[in-house]
């Protein structure tokens, strides 16, 4: 009963994120404006956080929905192979997705589902037991190539990435996309931890677009 209720709440939250007219939707409109103001349009954005539970998926969905609402074709790719998540609030199975695309053939775009007009979701796909860590695939050139191909047909690709420490360990990955958005939670993320990661991201010369402060009260 508890997990069912949690799923229900998650579903409602997702619905609110997909509604550009909601209060939270207006906050994501600000994010879109600020991203656009950075200069050249960001076509591929890695969304990460200092720790789990800060709202990376929330930001992916909110940003994706807002971009889609203004007519941009957006795809969100769930790269959290150790904790597949993006399919859940939509009540979708995780039978096909990123891993299926990398093992099979065809465009990555074909391995997802349409969550809203212009908004496509690519779940992780089946994750085989014994896979040594969630970041093995993202480090592979095949994934980078697949997402670049995806960028040919989509205006924006948002990567729901693992936590920042794993992103830092995958230079091939973050170096292949336009930049990184760091999500911190306003009541959960320790300031020292977040500061450590922004410093590390900047030291690694990662193109850090900026920070999204989530869950502000």
């Amino acid at each position: 009963m508890g997990s069912e209720r949690a799923l229900a709440e998650e579903t409602v939250r997702t619905h609110q994120l997909l509604d550009p007219g909601s209060e939270v939707g207006r906050s994501f409109a600000t994010l879109v404006e600020n991203l656009d103001a950075l200069g050249r349009p960001a076509k591929s954005v890695v969304i990460t956080g200092p720790e789990s539970g800060v709202g990376r998926t929330t930001v992916c969905l909110g940003l994706g929905a807002t971009l889609a609402a203004v007519g941009r074709k957006v795809t969100i790719v769930d790269c959290n192979l150790d904790q597949p998540h993006l399919h859940r609030p939509f009540g979708r199975p995780n039978f096909i997705g990123l891993t299926s695309a990398l093992e099979g053939s065809g465009s990555l775009e074909n391995y997802g589902f349409e969550a809203a007009p212009n908004l496509r979701i690519i779940p992780t796909g089946p994750v085989l037991p014994g896979l040594p860590g969630s970041w093995v695939l993202p480090n592979s050139p095949k994934l980078v190539e697949a997402i670049r191909d995806l960028g040919e047909s989509r205006d924006v690709v948002l990567l729901d990435a693992p936590v920042a420490s794993e992103v830092l360990d995958a230079p091939n990955f973050w170096g292949s996309f336009d930049g990184v958005l760091l999500v911190v939670h306003a009541t959960r993320t320790p300031k020292g931890v977040a500061r450590g990661f922004t410093d590390a991201l900047l030291d690694a010369r990662i193109n850090l677009f900026g920070v999204v402060l989530n869950g502000h009260v």
Partner: protein
């Protein structure tokens, strides 16, 4: 944080204790016995009260004792430092606390001596229901070798408890500050990176998801994703 506060409080307590005068307590024992009884037997407290009654003797016991001990800090201070209590039906213990062992013993013995003298002056006169009482110093007060004040221990315990409490509260406060971001300016100053958006906590906007209603409608939240539920 908690350890630091506790140590700080202990250090303050130690400084406080060191800045205070030490306390030494000397003790003399008197024996007081009724020699002949008439009427109802008087209690020991009544005898002692009678002996200390100014109307029954010349002047107050403590005033003469203070004078004899050479006490210079005032009668009230002398009285505060003096304590006596019955040990049993025939004995009374006299205690005096002072900043030096010699002073404490001198004052305790002075009081005991004056007490005995007063009793002897009253010989043959009814006191507390007895026609006569006999008193003597059973054990003279010796200068004590150790301090009697428990200030160090009490201060250490109080400082430890206080330090733990204050340190715990301070640690909780700092911990909450370390986790709570007040807004975009706070985040930009802390992270030295631009904050592109502040997303509010929108959990309060969730509609009622009570189980019966959800169960009645099928899979929770499905209707909302189909666009039939509450919007905004």
């Amino acid at each position: 944080m908690v350890g630091g506060c506790t140590l700080l409080f202990l250090a303050i307590a130690l400084l406080y204790v060191l800045s205070q005068d030490p306390v030494y307590t000397a003790e003399a024992t008197l024996s007081v016995r009724s020699q002949e009884e008439i009427g109802p037997t008087a209690s020991f407290d009544e005898i002692l009260s009678g002996l200390q009654d100014p109307a029954s003797s010349r002047g107050r016991l403590t005033e003469e004792a203070a004078e004899r001990a050479g006490w210079e800090d005032g009668q009230a201070d002398f009285n505060d430092r003096l304590d006596w209590e019955p040990v049993n039906d025939e004995e009374v213990r006299v205690r005096f606390s002072a900043s030096t062992p010699e002073e404490a013993a001198r004052a305790a013995n002075a009081y005991a001596e004056v007490f005995v003298e007063r009793v002897r002056e009253l010989e043959g006169r009814p006191v507390g229901g007895s026609v006569a009482v006999d008193a003597e110093v059973e054990r003279v007060a010796e200068p004590p070798e150790r301090r009697s004040d428990r200030g160090v221990l009490l201060a250490a315990v109080a400082a430890g408890v206080g330090g733990l409490l204050i340190g715990g509260i301070a640690a909780l406060f700092l911990e909450s500050r370390a986790h709570r971001w007040s807004g975009s300016i706070d985040a930009e100053r802390t992270l030295r990176a631009p904050v592109l958006a502040v997303i509010p906590d929108y959990s309060d906007e969730l509609p009622d998801l009570s189980p019966p209603e959800s169960e009645a409608r099928g899979k929770p939240g499905d209707e909302l994703l189909r666009g039939e539920g509450r919007r905004g």
